[in-house]
Symmetry: C2
Subunit: 173 residues, 2 copies
Amino acid sequence: MLRAMSEDLADRLIGASELHGDFVLSSGKRSSVYFDKFRFLTDPPLLKEVAHAVAGHLPEGITHLAAPEGAATLLVAAIALETHLPIAVVRKEPKAYGTMSQVEGQAPAGAQVALIEDVSTTGHQVLKAARVLEAEGCTIGIVVLAIDRGGAEHLRDEGYWVKSVVEIRPAED
Amino acid sequence: MLRAMSEDLADRLIGASELHGDFVLSSGKRSSVYFDKFRFLTDPPLLKEVAHAVAGHLPEGITHLAAPEGAATLLVAAIALETHLPIAVVRKEPKAYGTMSQVEGQAPAGAQVALIEDVSTTGHQVLKAARVLEAEGCTIGIVVLAIDRGGAEHLRDEGYWVKSVVEIRPAED
């Protein structure tokens, strides 16, 4: 049943987000298909449904949510409104003024963090954010990916507990 | 009554977000006070309350929400969940691959957009986002600032209809 729900959600995420045309990917390769994660993150019913599914993966004892800066902040806001857990946003680079911090929001030392990412293909950005949070004294209690496009395996290799709402494998490379 | 509510909310926003210490501001000036907007945007009860207040300012006929990329995406997600309006996120620069677009998410030509910003001091970033949306064929129906620190006046000078939830004037420059 859970599997069926997840497959239905996967179909709708792909339906909302898969664009067809002629695209240059971040790798520099051309593709006739592009997965535009903003399409589902900016659709309130889908955003709410994905946030609810992510929240369902959070174990006991999580005190804070975190996400890398960017599109994932839409998702983490929706999860926070459902779970009432405070949020940390991890910048790619430390802020150049003010707090000078690479972590914005709520990430006290000792926090048990659920690190959230919308889509992860390599796990690279999530791993980088995890290291930054750990350097602040936080513990990564779990990583939850809305969509695992391959990143989960790499993050597990690094020792993290990783769950995902749906798993999508690229149709072509 | 509305004014009293707003003053109470202003007090709590300042209480959550005003940091005291020795800070270098974005202008390069030093200050003993720094307003860290992430503090209220990452606190779920405050985020929800501010989002509700922003939603209360939206006129009839608005079809879409928009926000500049960055911290405001936390706020616009919360407003979207309350209003069920789809979201556009406006990048500072066009994306270098994939859609190549400066506007992510939902911003079809003809959309009547409520452009949302967390804090505006000069109005500059909001104005830039408004111009980008207009170039996509959207109409800016209203600009709503969670916190007006001076930006509203500049945006009104540019011809926009601007409302704000609370108005905070910097204690020192």
